[in-house]
Symmetry: D2
Amino acid sequence: MTRKIRMGMVGGGEGAFIGAVHRMAANLDGQIELVCGAFSSNAERSIASGKSLFLDPSRCYASYQEMFEQEAKLPPQQRMDFVAIVTPNHLHFPVAKMAMEYGFHVMSDKPATLNLDEAKHLNAIINETGRLYGLTHTYNGYPLVKEAKQLIADGKLGKVTKVVVEYSQGWLASADDEGSKQASWRLDEKQAGISCCMGDIGVHAANLAEYVSGLTISELCADLTSVVAGRTLDDDGTVILRFNNGVKGLLFSSQISVGEENNLRLRIYGEKGAIDWSQQEPNTLWLRSNNNPTQMIRTGVGQMSDAALNAIRTPAGHPEGYIEAFANLYLNFAKQIQAHNAGNPATNSQFDVPGINEALRGMAFIENAVAASNADTKWHKFTV
Amino acid sequence: MTRKIRMGMVGGGEGAFIGAVHRMAANLDGQIELVCGAFSSNAERSIASGKSLFLDPSRCYASYQEMFEQEAKLPPQQRMDFVAIVTPNHLHFPVAKMAMEYGFHVMSDKPATLNLDEAKHLNAIINETGRLYGLTHTYNGYPLVKEAKQLIADGKLGKVTKVVVEYSQGWLASADDEGSKQASWRLDEKQAGISCCMGDIGVHAANLAEYVSGLTISELCADLTSVVAGRTLDDDGTVILRFNNGVKGLLFSSQISVGEENNLRLRIYGEKGAIDWSQQEPNTLWLRSNNNPTQMIRTGVGQMSDAALNAIRTPAGHPEGYIEAFANLYLNFAKQIQAHNAGNPATNSQFDVPGINEALRGMAFIENAVAASNADTKWHKFTV
Amino acid sequence: MTRKIRMGMVGGGEGAFIGAVHRMAANLDGQIELVCGAFSSNAERSIASGKSLFLDPSRCYASYQEMFEQEAKLPPQQRMDFVAIVTPNHLHFPVAKMAMEYGFHVMSDKPATLNLDEAKHLNAIINETGRLYGLTHTYNGYPLVKEAKQLIADGKLGKVTKVVVEYSQGWLASADDEGSKQASWRLDEKQAGISCCMGDIGVHAANLAEYVSGLTISELCADLTSVVAGRTLDDDGTVILRFNNGVKGLLFSSQISVGEENNLRLRIYGEKGAIDWSQQEPNTLWLRSNNNPTQMIRTGVGQMSDAALNAIRTPAGHPEGYIEAFANLYLNFAKQIQAHNAGNPATNSQFDVPGINEALRGMAFIENAVAASNADTKWHKFTV
Amino acid sequence: MTRKIRMGMVGGGEGAFIGAVHRMAANLDGQIELVCGAFSSNAERSIASGKSLFLDPSRCYASYQEMFEQEAKLPPQQRMDFVAIVTPNHLHFPVAKMAMEYGFHVMSDKPATLNLDEAKHLNAIINETGRLYGLTHTYNGYPLVKEAKQLIADGKLGKVTKVVVEYSQGWLASADDEGSKQASWRLDEKQAGISCCMGDIGVHAANLAEYVSGLTISELCADLTSVVAGRTLDDDGTVILRFNNGVKGLLFSSQISVGEENNLRLRIYGEKGAIDWSQQEPNTLWLRSNNNPTQMIRTGVGQMSDAALNAIRTPAGHPEGYIEAFANLYLNFAKQIQAHNAGNPATNSQFDVPGINEALRGMAFIENAVAASNADTKWHKFTV
């Protein structure tokens, strides 16, 4: 690249967690610079946030609408290239829509939109505007997740027979935990959509299962629950899965599993082998088979797929974490933008970033899981 | 005790795995002596097996019928006290029935019988004969399983909110694996009953969940599968659970999860804390909560419940394993027999051994799981 | 075998830990029966202990001298075959000596004797009497220790370059811990010998390092310490090692490392690979190399050496522990006795039991470590 | 801060590992911008490296001398604030010296200098110039290292009794590994100094032990070795330690321990408790005691010291790694510079960065370890 890619941000003012993570991820590799933001709907707070980020106050906006309008008027060599959307869920779609209509690429936090209809609408806008769209299914960014995906694609497990994915957290285990900013909007249907647990984390699990296995969910049987009294949205759920080729699966997810931190774990069993990966120890991938020692694959040790190698920054034994995985999405998105700018658009297999397809399937997963849970019949066909 | 308790055995001839395990478990504490056996339906092979166990050939029988008849004729100071049944499933009931009718106590391998009807019949016989009945749900015998049960009974987790139990194995992952003696009868409905995976190991998982949580399953939604082509019985399954007080749960079990050895893991979440125990590392019990360090409870370290202490043989850091857990059942059963002989029958809370109640619930679990899996409606009421 | 091997015991009365462990180890496989004992120097207490073990009071003796005299007079078909010595250290030698002089084989707890001179004397007696001698370096009995030894013997690691062995405990971390029966004699030079930490556990670590590596210690640099004030014997120590072929090594051992249970860990590095085994998780052996995934070798999974297979009792995933390892020594010792009785003495490679060679090297290790620690020069030649 | 802190870099051109790590660490928090560099002694390559980092070619220099001269002439609002030194060891001192003489602060890779004399000289220069000096003992930057330090300072372990620190790697296990750029200079005394293993990684271990324990090494007994034939510098070593208050310790370090990645582990035992931390799983800190469950302290879970909290970027369960630890040093160094610029110098306890004291002790450790290893007497007094 001959210059850094310029990023604007909507949301992520002081006190917000995920905005700061997006910024660190964008900073890490020195390929992206933050140039503007609508960090808050309060102009003063937006400017204060921007100032702490060393931004010019003239580029700290009180609304995303204002940001897109003003940035579009700037000369190309100053104007932001893309916007990072880190608001509560209900704003993801309108911000992304307007950004693209003003010519900006979009990197959005997940879930992509408030519902499936919006995601379909977003898809149409992407097709119309030709803008690039990235969705931060962060966990795809880990080197050993990419290695696992490659092992399966290469047939190292044989035919896949079973998928078990779990995403357990405990932070919403009691009503007392609802007071925080993080909790309150996630439990409010207007801001979060029709699901809390499946919308916030179950969708990550479903995405990871499909991403690594290369399969797509075709049917499901679901039991979502509001364990903590008084909640209208689910805070826990189990979903039995069937994938496109008849493979069975299981997804369970919870925000009330006391003592669990951020326990996302994926196991995929095949006729010859199995992989097992846990997000909390992301630099270890277990490769099992029936009559051999289990292999402990470690980030950066020995031969690895190009996909994994491209996602590694440090030598073996120097642990890489969540921010590095996140940064892999940003780095690839920056490379996509540069290729786009150079008139030579990249394929996703070159610079892998979850995008609109994952957005559509993610929103469909949430809606299908809720519908399946509400049904009396056991099986519910997965439709997009 | 003033003498060792005398044991006979049905099944468990040379080459059988579980018979040898029962004998080691019975041997370990020096409270039980093997005095006779019907190790094989072939008289010569039964005698050969007995000889290798240093038994008098006159007490190596060609059938269990002969054994009970002949042993009953022996003077009381020679006659066996109880029989250990280690045959394939379909013989558990007829052997137990006849043993009790001849006045012998019974320690049976699980599942208790071929079906629920037999278990009910067995219950009636127990009530009629007053004989003692033990069922080797081995995993209940681990010290830290007992500690977990006690922690929950003492309210250390608060109200239980969720139960997740898994039992994964890989040894039946391909049709090639069916040739072994261990595999062939388990996949044959006539010898194994209506389920392979749920009957062989799922029932252990259900038992463990109920034993530790103190709850009982009241409803279930099941998806059992024969993953390997050509099988008539299930080799994998997922069961969503509801317990008596509305608590949600999940049980999944598999014999086709390649690379899994004997992965039985139980997690129980409560409002204040959670426990996590895995059979393959049985001397560690994790106690989690939301805002404190996770506690790594280790066999023999620090204060423990009496239930756990009574199940421990070695100091901390000297690992106890599967045979020791198994031996805890035998040791308690021997103590029950001695108390019985002394005219002062013990309660199960004194000398804890799974018995006819676990037999009934176990057989009901298998039948309800199969019925639920065959149903189109999502939820199936658990009946005994 | 056509009969069980008959065992007597010296020491191990009620309240003693290690005597009970020896009995369980002897019981496990049903090849050995306890027939007599001198459990206490108090006749009544010896009889009480024997009674709780279902022994005939006539064979519960008030002294080992009496036991050997009386047992020697019994007809061969009743008389004990061997004695298990489970007393404090200072009695190991006189009991073993007298036992052999009366024609009995000996299985002794470690360390073999009070000092090296006694061990040499013992060696002479063994040579004179032709009796069998076993020493319970228990940790050699674990299946994966045998597998590790075989891997190295087969050259799987290439030339060995470094040995690191650690044995850390915390139970003697404060003077308050000295009150127990277990602690008091270990800290008394008259009963324990010239070292506490090295004599009690360091010697296990040295034995394990030599056993698995196939190397012998030739030089050492030691720093032993009495960390807790007022002790005359060491409770902690570090020993830098040189082995016979120039290989470097490190042994560190402690009884004051608070929070450590029984943490014996052995790592052996070679030019091509390395093994790593920890006694507290004995069913896992790590096999590492520089450019491949680490292999997690598990008891009973896949191909194993005969040495390991012969030491395994349960299928993969059914954990075997300390008592099973201990029982492997007893089982092999019973087989040695039977072969001896059959006039066809077994080699140690058939039925592997630590013996007089390990006794000599163990006592030499203790004495050399203490001497090296007392020296001002860095290196001390290891002499036997 | 009202502006980003401006960084120059010496070394770290294309293909270098540690330079890229320094840049990512500096980038992460958005508080520092790279403005210039002397990435290579070849002008073209320096410019090429700078271009790939989006630097103005006019600020890509062919030598550090040129860089300092030219940067010093720039107006204050453009001129770099500090230089990051990421060259082989022999250049650390001359670059740092010249930088300070030109008025720039210095962040240096470790070891600080080629030998202790240079470190003392550097100390004098720091005192003369009043410049800030940071040394990247990266491992101090991990949140749970800071938590461990605080636990000990707060007396949670009681009086410290023993320190065990290990740093094992395997990447230099064979002569074949010497070809790489990383390996070749480390094995060359002219570039690396008098030690390879102790100078490259042993010094990290010594630093970590002193940092966390709050103790200082006062005596040592060392055995350094060149395991691979033909090497003049050590590639492995064991050092027995005595700390200032009589506490015993052990440090062992290796670059030939096949299969080890970057295994830095610290255990500190006290009279009441013990900590155990491993760099490869840096988000877990074990807190042990003798009669309680071990506590598994996890980054971001529950109450933590301010020192740890200030070093955490993501919520519990979102693993932080090596780059984040490194970035904590850079972030604090940036804050120190800002405070310095504001005329209100910070104390190291506010913004913790290893500095000249760690430089002096580190160089002294290397020299004392080599001298102790060369001595025939056991103990060597640690002098600075």
